[in-house]
């Protein structure tokens, strides 16, 4: 049954359905409503869970880590500066192969201070060794969160569910929450085989010298690559329960016959789809919704790009001094195609800049029009607002 819920409230209730035993969090906009929601469910006796309100994000990730190795399902959530403050621990969680789930309510990074949505935060920890799943809608955020716990625990890898701050977290819309029975049937009780137990004492996080370290990294890399199967299976199994899916590793939408492709991560997809649907005079596009950014679905991506002449990779983050972050990765993945599409790479919607329906036309004009843009650019930036020297 659909309920009118704010994205964050829906996520809080979904997380409760997953029965975490320990939740640790530190407040940061725009993640706050999620953890406030969980705290209230705990206070009302609706969720039997230790809610640890810590003194920093560094500790939030660390408490979750400790809880998971001591045998409890653990969850945390953060955004922006919080992700960076916990970055050290995020790498450690992944390197130790500890299964836990966190929500990243995507937000820009300082400086200058900006509390609004882009994806620079999760991109900054792209190499931490976590599974990263990006959600296009709040319904996907709900369904992906349930799936994330199963993926994490089956793969013994942490999963970051990336949900665009405000655009999703603070938007009220009709959403379908699964029932407790549906989640319980789908998600078995937490078990971590390498956990800490006095009955079988083991040492975790030891000093690993050069003669073993490369193999540790190799195993981790392979585990992430193998997780692709589990991500797809988690989605298809969940679809059998609730009758809807999130697209597995990626989803091809829009016009499948189009020669123009647009690849996106997160909620911007809806805007582009509406723009295309609203104006039949615009060139048609095939949309590629990249859901699993880590592991990076190279094979699935090649298949999705089959028959494209042009592919626009649109991101909400950048690597200053280089250009896009996802764009070059996509280009590398497609290079072995027989006829790879020409890849254009843009960033847009940084720091919460509104992305209007006109974005679609802007993108199309930039790659198909007479004044084609060369190289990476922030497509919605207006350099004329800057002093001459900074343009």
């Amino acid at each position: 049954m659909a309920l009118a819920l704010e994205g964050s409230q829906a996520l809080a209730r979904t997380i409760a359905l997953c029965r975490p035993q320990v939740v640790a969090a530190y407040p940061i906009t725009p993640q706050t409503h999620i953890v406030e929601g969980i705290a209230k469910l705990v206070a009302d006796g609706k969720l039997d869970c230790e809610m640890v309100s810590v003194e920093s994000e560094h500790s939030a990730a660390s408490v979750a880590l400790g809880a998971a190795v001591a045998g409890s399902r653990a969850y945390t959530a953060s955004a922006s500066q919080g992700i960076l403050l916990m970055a050290e621990v995020l790498f450690d969680i992944a390197g130790l192969r500890i299964p836990l789930v966190m929500t990243c309510a995507n937000r820009a990074l300082s400086g200058p201070l900006n509390i609004w949505n882009d994806q620079q935060d999760s991109m900054a920890v792209r190499d931490a060794g976590w599974i990263q799943l990006y959600c296009a809608t709040n319904q996907e955020a709900i369904d992906t969160t349930v799936q994330a716990f199963r993926i994490a625990e089956r793969c013994e890898l942490p999963v970051m569910v990336c949900v665009d701050g405000f655009t999703l977290t603070h938007t009220l819309e009709p959403l379908d929450l699964p029932s407790a029975e549906q989640v319980d049937g789908y998600l078995p009780a937490y078990r971590f085989h390498h956990g800490l137990d006095p009955a079988d004492p083991r040492s975790l996080g030891t000093l690993v010298a050069p003669e073993h370290f490369s193999e540790v990294r190799h195993a981790h890399h392979q585990a992430l690559l193998r997780a692709q199967t589990e991500i797809e299976k988690a989605d298809s199994d969940w679809a059998e329960v609730v009758g809807r899916h999130c697209g597995g590793l990626l989803e091809v939408r829009g016009d499948p016959e189009a020669r123009l492709g647009i690849l996106t991560l997160g909620s911007v997809l809806g805007t582009l789809e509406d723009a295309m649907d609203n104006d039949p005079s615009l060139p048609r596009a095939r949309f590629i919704k990249l859901r699993s950014y880590r592991p990076f679905p190279t094979e699935a991506l090649r298949e999705a790009c089959e028959g494209l002449d042009t592919l626009i990779v649109l991101e909400r983050a950048l690597s200053p001094g280089a250009g896009g972050i996802v764009g070059p990765e996509v280009q590398t993945a497609l290079i072995e195609m027989e006829v790879p599409p020409r890849v254009h790479n843009f960033a847009a919607g940084l720091g919460g800049r509104d992305l209007s329906l006109d974005l679609y036309r802007q993108l199309v004009d930039a790659v198909l029009g007479e004044n084609q843009r060369k190289g990476f650019s922030i497509i919605d930036a207006d350099p004329t607002l800057l002093p001459e020297a900074d343009r």
Partner: protein, 330 residues
């Protein structure tokens, strides 16, 4: 008394059912105070514990993969988060309804400096965790750099004495007062020179519900510049001079001290260690710094009323003195 055949020491030891959480064969230096303190602490804690260990010597010398000297479940995450990892383990065990207790181990860097925020948060939230700080007064694992715990005037590689410096310019952080301000149920100091006192405090802390804190003075022969055979003597002198007071606190109130029978001049402690060598130069500033350190010791003795009133069973001479025949006190 019945005549009993003499037995070798090893045979007698084998008959003693003693739990060892930290086995021998690890890679600590000779005379390492921290290794000794960790062994004593885990012996007293017993087998039903889980340990979170901050980055540092203790982590490195006990777990060179694929070896481990721990007979207890143990995790190392990063340098500054040991109290938070322990808090998470405690929250999990509590939620599961298990009685297993949680220990957090850190050096002084992981306690006074980089780990302090997480420690303060853990204590404020009242997690049932015993946090043990193995205080060797500098960053030894990285090669002896000054920490917030390094005593005033001590030489480290980042507080070297020179033409215009006399070692560390700042005071040793009074960590126990800061801990006391959290009003946790139990906080204490101990020294490897007084092992039965140390063990009693571990047991007492573990019998206490809530956060507890134990700071164990643990000499580092390499970093302090003394012979490995002098670890206990150096540690004992730190207590006997008043430079490292042995005290106990409940809810922030002082409840017990180890009285000093005859306070010794600080120079007796300092002169054994190369890190204070520059204070014995024939120079005005060296003499001033010695006076300064003596004043710190005097202040400790006065503040905690450490001066014993006579010969006491549990003072700096009596405690842990073992006499021939096995009698602890003649």
């Amino acid at each position: 008394m019945n005549e009993q055949p003499l037995q070798s020491l090893d045979a007698l030891r084998a008959q003693q059912p003693r739990f060892r959480g930290l086995e021998s064969g690890h890679r600590a230096c000779q005379g390492c105070g921290e290794a000794l303190a960790a062994r004593l602490a885990t012996e007293a804690a017993g087998p039903d514990v889980v340990i979170a260990n901050a980055t540092g010597c203790l982590e490195v010398f006990t777990t060179p993969w694929p070896q481990s000297a721990w007979r207890l479940p143990w995790i190392h995450s990063v340098f500054g988060n040991v109290a938070a990892v322990a808090a998470g383990m405690e929250a999990a065990l509590k939620q599961q309804g298990r009685a297993t207790q949680v220990l957090a181990f850190a050096g002084d860097g992981g306690t006074f400096d980089i780990g302090f925020q997480a420690l303060s948060g853990m204590m404020e939230r009242g997690h049932n965790v015993l946090f043990i700080c193995f205080d060797n007064e500098a960053y030894m694992n990285t090669g002896v750099q000054r920490s917030g715990s390094t005593p005033h005037a001590a030489m480290t590689t980042t507080s070297p004495p020179g033409a215009v410096r006399m070692g560390k310019r700042h005071m040793k952080k009074d960590i126990l007062s800061i801990i006391a301000a959290h009003h946790i149920p139990y906080a204490a100091t101990a020294s490897v020179a007084y092992p039965s006192d140390l063990r009693n405090k571990v047991r007492r802390a573990m019998d206490t519900e809530g956060a507890s804190f134990l700071q164990i003075h643990s000499p580092c022969p390499l970093g302090w510049g003394h012979d490995g055979s002098l670890t206990i003597e150096v540690a004992r002198l730190a207590v006997q001079t008043g430079l490292f007071p042995i005290i106990e606190m409940e809810r922030g109130e002082l409840i017990g001290t180890l009285p000093i029978r005859d306070p010794k001049p600080v120079s007796e402690y300092l002169k054994l260690q190369n890190r204070f060598r520059h204070l014995f130069a024939d120079a005005y500033r060296a003499r001033k710094e010695l006076e300064h350190l003596q004043a710190i010791a005097n202040r400790n003795i006065e503040r905690f009323e450490l001066r014993g009133v006579g010969i006491e069973k549990y003072d700096t001479e009596g405690a842990d003195t073992v006499h021939r025949g096995g009698d602890r006190w003649a």
